[in-house]
Symmetry: C2
Subunit: 219 residues, 2 copies
C-alpha cells in the first residue's frame, strides 16, 4: 500500500506526522513524502524541517493521498501545479484524504464538489466557498474522500483508514503500538467543549493573523 503525503512550506507538522505514524505501520505500507521540490520544507513555526523525498512528478499513483494543513495551505489554494497533481492522482487513489485546512486544497482542486467534508473548526465554513459541504465532525468519510478536523484529528482519521484497509485487529494493534489512550489534562479540545472565552481568544488570534487569511472564490 503506497501512501503519499504532501509537504509544503508552512505545513503544520502534526497534521502530517500523526497520520504517518499510524499509516506507516500498516502491513506493506510504503510512505513517501512528496512536494514541489526535493529538499527540506520548514513547518509553520519555522522550527522544524521536514524532508521532501520525491517531487510531485515522481509520484503518479498512490493508494492513499494525504494533504495536511497549516498556514501554508493558503498559497496552495491557487497553486495550479499542486492542484493539477491532486486532480491527476485522485482517479487512481483508493482514499483521497486531508487533515485540517488540507481539505480546502482538495476542495480548491475541485475534488470535494458537493461532498461532505471537515476542516479545522475556525476555517471549516470556507469549504462551502469551494463547493464542499462543511460538517462539524472529527472525521468525515464521503465515498473515498476522508477529511479530518484540526491538527491532531489526523491520528483518529488514520486509525479509521487502518480499520477499513486492514481490519479491526490490525488497527487496534497499531493504536496499542503507539499507545494512543489519550488523557488530555482538560476537556477543551473542541469549540463545543472549551470555555466560550477561550474559543473567542483562539478564533480572534487566528482571524487577525494575516498569514492565515483565506481567499475564497467569489460566488
Amino acid at each position: 500500500m503506497k501512501i503519499a503525503i504532501l509537504l509544503y512550506e508552512d505545513v503544520t507538522a502534526l497534521d502530517a506526522v500523526g497520520p504517518y505514524e499510524v499509516l506507516s505501520r500498516l502491513p506493506g505500507a510504503e510512505v513517501v513524502f512528496a512536494g514541489r521540490e526535493k529538499g527540506t520544507v520548514r513547518t509553520d513555526t519555522g522550527a522544524l524541517g521536514l524532508a521532501v523525498d520525491a517531487t510531485l512528478a515522481e509520484v503518479g499513483e498512490a493508494d492513499i493521498v494525504l494533504v495536511p494543513g497549516g498556514a501554508g495551505t493558503r498559497p496552495l489554494l491557487g497553486d495550479e501545479e499542486v492542484l493539477d497533481w491532486l486532480r491527476a492522482i485522485d482517479p487512481v487513489t483508493k482514499w483521497t484524504t486531508s487533515v485540517c485546512t488540507g481539505s480546502l486544497i482538495l476542495a480548491a482542486a475541485g475534488l470535494l464538489e458537493g461532498r461532505r467534508a471537515t476542516s479545522h473548526w475556525i476555517w471549516r465554513e470556507y469549504l462551502s466557498a469551494f463547493g464542499a459541504e462543511p460538517v462539524a465532525e472529527r472525521v468525515v468519510v464521503d465515498g473515498k474522500y476522508v477529511s479530518a478536523a484540526g491538527v491532531s484529528s489526523g491520528i483518529d482519521m488514520a486509525l479509521e483508514l487502518a480499520r477499513r484497509e486492514a481490519g479491526d485487529e490490525i488497527a487496534q494493534a497499531i493504536q496499542l503500538g503507539i499507545e494512543y489512550d489519550p488523557e488530555p489534562p482538560f476537556d477543551a479540545g473542541s469549540p463545543e467543549k472549551a470555555d466560550a472565552a477561550i474559543v473567542e481568544l483562539v478564533r480572534e488570534r487566528a482571524q487577525s493573523d494575516p498569514a492565515l487569511q483565506i481567499e475564497a472564490p467569489t460566488p
Copy 2:
C-alpha cells in the same frame, strides 16, 4: 522559553512532533531540534527525514529538554556524547522530559536515579535496570523530571507542561488550537484496555525485533 528536542537516527517521529506541536505554541517559545550532527536524520520507518538544526555542542541551555523514543534509543544507551550532553544541560533546565523509550536514555544518563518514571508499556520495566522506578501512568511527574508513556502520550505530557508553565487558559487555548478532542475508533490504546490477544501480538512482534532489543546493565 527555550525548548530543545533531541533528534537521532531511528527516532519515532510522533514522539518528537506531538510535544513540539504543543510546546511551540507557548508564548515566547523557541524550539530547537538538536542532534549529534546537523543535517537530516531518518525516522524509525525510514520514510521521513527530520532536520537537525543545531549540534549538541551548540545547545548548552534550555528551559525544557525533551528526549523522544524510538528504535534508535538503543544505541544511545551507551552513547557517551549524548549522555554527557544530557548530564551537562540537565542542571540548567526547568524540565527534563521524555516520551516513550526516551526515558531509558535519561535513566542511562543517571538522571532518573530513584525517580518515578514511565515509558512505552512494552519496555517500561527496563527503567529499573537503569535505576528508575517504573510507573504505569501516561504522564509521570517527579520533581522536574517528566516522562510520558508510548509515542502519542507526548501530546498529553506537553499539555501538562503547558499548563504548569503558562496556566490553564493558555494550555486550553493550545489544546483547542490543535483541536485535541480525541475520538479513536477503538478503546484499545493501553494494554489494560486492548484485547489480550492484541496485547500479545504487539508485544511478541516488538520483542522479536532485533532492532528493538535493550541491553540493560547487569546489576
